[in-house]
Symmetry: C2
Subunit: 387 residues, 2 copies
């Protein structure tokens, strides 16, 4: 099977984009990815769109066809893929498998979500549809509530502290302060986080990623086509694992077994281990999830994620620079776009043209999570095909 | 790349299934497909769910994980695929490409839609999200309206008659009368159709497929695995083409260019032509679309589809038995399930265990359409790998 490379990445500004429609931002990100790859839209043989809930957010389904049409490639086969907040990643992985299958040599992936057209309470209920509607959402369990349960259990079992959670937000906001695409460019202090409004105990406002509009796109190509591009970034592994949707059906709520399984498969596929990773993007929808994710990816032992954060390891000058552009916390979290945005940012780090560039970064990993961990996708990327 | 075969099919009863939830019927169809293949759920390595709009119909997204979980395979990678009324087909095609890529040897496809929990006007608006929300739905153009425009143009340009449209419904209801899975088992006469209530001129109630709950599932396997099964049915081609979402952006509204392109690719891939097809399933969401589809698949020349129907060619004893189990008209049209249901029914015809069995049927084709033709998927199946 052919290898697959990322040869173009594109992002819109993330934020409250009231003056732009979903199709506006999707096309903007797609065109940016094509421009980044220095190609026209006629290269695209397949289109995959990651989107969680445009049907509810803006009353539009059938986004594959809509975005292909708006992009001037109406006849290209297009599919919208959904797995809640991992929708972008399952779209990307579908494109990756499409190229591996020999069906296409070039596949465009667009992750997009337009969330701010609804009132906040309606957004919260729409997002709750990523959990188990009948057994979680209907009894009032929102996503802040679900992750708060995980946080409290992690604190109870492992002694993870409120301050360690807050340091996740401090790091990610610090990394996002010079990111022109990020929703928020302000830094936050430990005290800011600890004194912000309580959302779902122990999680406070500054532990939570925001509600965001935004789009991200990547152009994937086969190995034979990749040779024509200046600086292809290779996908050494793209692996997914799932788990029960409802938190109460999981074997454990202090770790994320789906992410652990996806990471294990990705390390096996690539022949690499956590010690080979130079830069990482993890799913900090809530601060606790960055800690749980760092453990799932094998960077810290189970229960030691908080201490790992506290040690400064995740900062730009630490041993494992994490969420170097601001994470979901500062970038914002347009749910269908996030997994694709992570791959855009890892790609730029590996090419050497990122903000907050990590010198000599060669191998990167990202983890994108759907729901409270029912879906997890892990990609390992490298600037060389043979590592 | 490996070849891919269908080795199990499963259907629920289609209809108003108020006493069953989406997950109930999805699991029921999936278990039926596994039982049909005489295997357990542990064979499944990938899960693809076709669903258009559960977010709006029942307030639940993340259906891949939910259905995997409910089926007892919570860790299997699962993706929900959407392309409006072709959602089932893009899920099936994604599973096909997944196996071709070498990622899986066995992939389960579940198409499902639970539509009747909403009021009819809300269903109509939810379905309108398959069209261009900003340019069609917002000005009141429903799907009956869109297909009525196509019907009127076809009648005006080619002399297609009101009676020819009605004969589509007469044929499909006649075929569905002994189908235990169909929503409707009643036959309708030409007069019944012509005298039914006007919905969108020239389309009447009995020209329209109904609002339906239902699920369909198929188990796909690689060639090496298929050899272990008694009667694999081979997918010789699974091809998709798209077109502009809004009807007014198409080059023509009297033909469906997406379907024509998908069919052309499928014939090329399989090395077969329309003259080799023994049995067909087409997308009769409205009677006009069966006529347009028969033309797109090359069974009748452009503009001659009405006469082809009138000739009796599509009946069970005609030259091209079409929608032999009742089509969307009698089966009902749970939108995310329909494309998968078509492949279930073609598979049974090619195995020789269908209702209304066409003796000696060896090669079948199906066409599933999303929206008013923005997405079209064509599969060619055969009971032999080398034809």
């Amino acid at each position: 099977m052919t290898n697959v490379a990322v040869v173009g990445v594109g992002l819109t500004k993330f934020g409250e984009l009231w003056e732009q429609s979903l199709r506006d931002i999707a096309v903007k990100a797609a065109l940016a990815a094509l421009a980044d790859a220095k190609v026209n839209n006629d290269i695209v043989q397949s289109l995959y769109v990651g989107n969680m809930s445009a049907g509810r957010f803006i009353g539009q389904e059938h986004l594959g066809a809509l975005i292909g049409d708006s992009l001037g490639i109406p006849n290209v086969p297009a599919v919208r893929c959904e797995a809640a907040c991992a929708s972008g990643s399952v779209a990307l992985r579908s494109a990756y498998l499409d190229i591996k299958s020999g069906n296409s040599d070039a596949a465009l992936v667009v992750g997009v979500e337009k969330m701010t057209d609804l009132q906040t309470d309606e957004v919260v209920m729409t997002l709750a549809a990523a959990g188990d509607q009948e057994w979680e959402a209907d009894i009032g369990l929102t996503f802040a509530g679900l992750y708060a349960l995980m946080a409290r259990a992690h604190m109870h079992k492992f002694g993870t502290t409120r301050e360690q959670l807050a340091l996740v937000s401090v790091n990610n906001h610090s990394n996002g302060k010079n990111n022109p695409h990020a929703q928020f460019n302000m830094e936050v202090s430990l005290e800011d986080v600890l004194n912000s409004s309580l959302v779902a105990d122990p999680l406070r406002l500054l532990d939570c990623s925001p509600i965001t509009d935004g789009a991200a796109a990547v152009l994937l190509v086969s190995e034979s086509l990749a040779r024509r591009f200046e600086q292809p970034i290779w996908i050494l592994a793209s692996e997914q694992a799932n788990d029960a949707v409802a938190l109460h059906d999981r074997k454990s709520i202090v770790e994320m077994l789906s992410a652990k399984m996806a990471a294990k498969k990705a390390y096996e596929k690539s022949g690499l281990g956590p010690n080979k990773i130079d830069v990482t993007e993890v799913h900090d929808c809530f601060s606790i999830n960055e800690i749980i994710s760092l453990e799932a990816l094998g960077f810290a032992e189970l229960g030691r994620g908080g201490k790992f954060v506290e040690s400064g390891a995740i900062t730009l000058t630490g041993e494992l620079p994490t969420n170097t552009t601001g994470g979901l916390k500062a970038n914002g979290h347009p749910v269908g776009a996030t997994g694709v945005r992570q791959v855009c940012d890892i790609t730029k780090q590996l090419r050497g043209d990122s903000i907050n560039q990590i010198n000599g970064a060669k191998i990167g990993i990202n983890l994108n999570v759907g729901g409270s961990g029912a879906t997890a996708v892990v990609n390992i990327l490298s600037n060389e095909l043979v590592v």
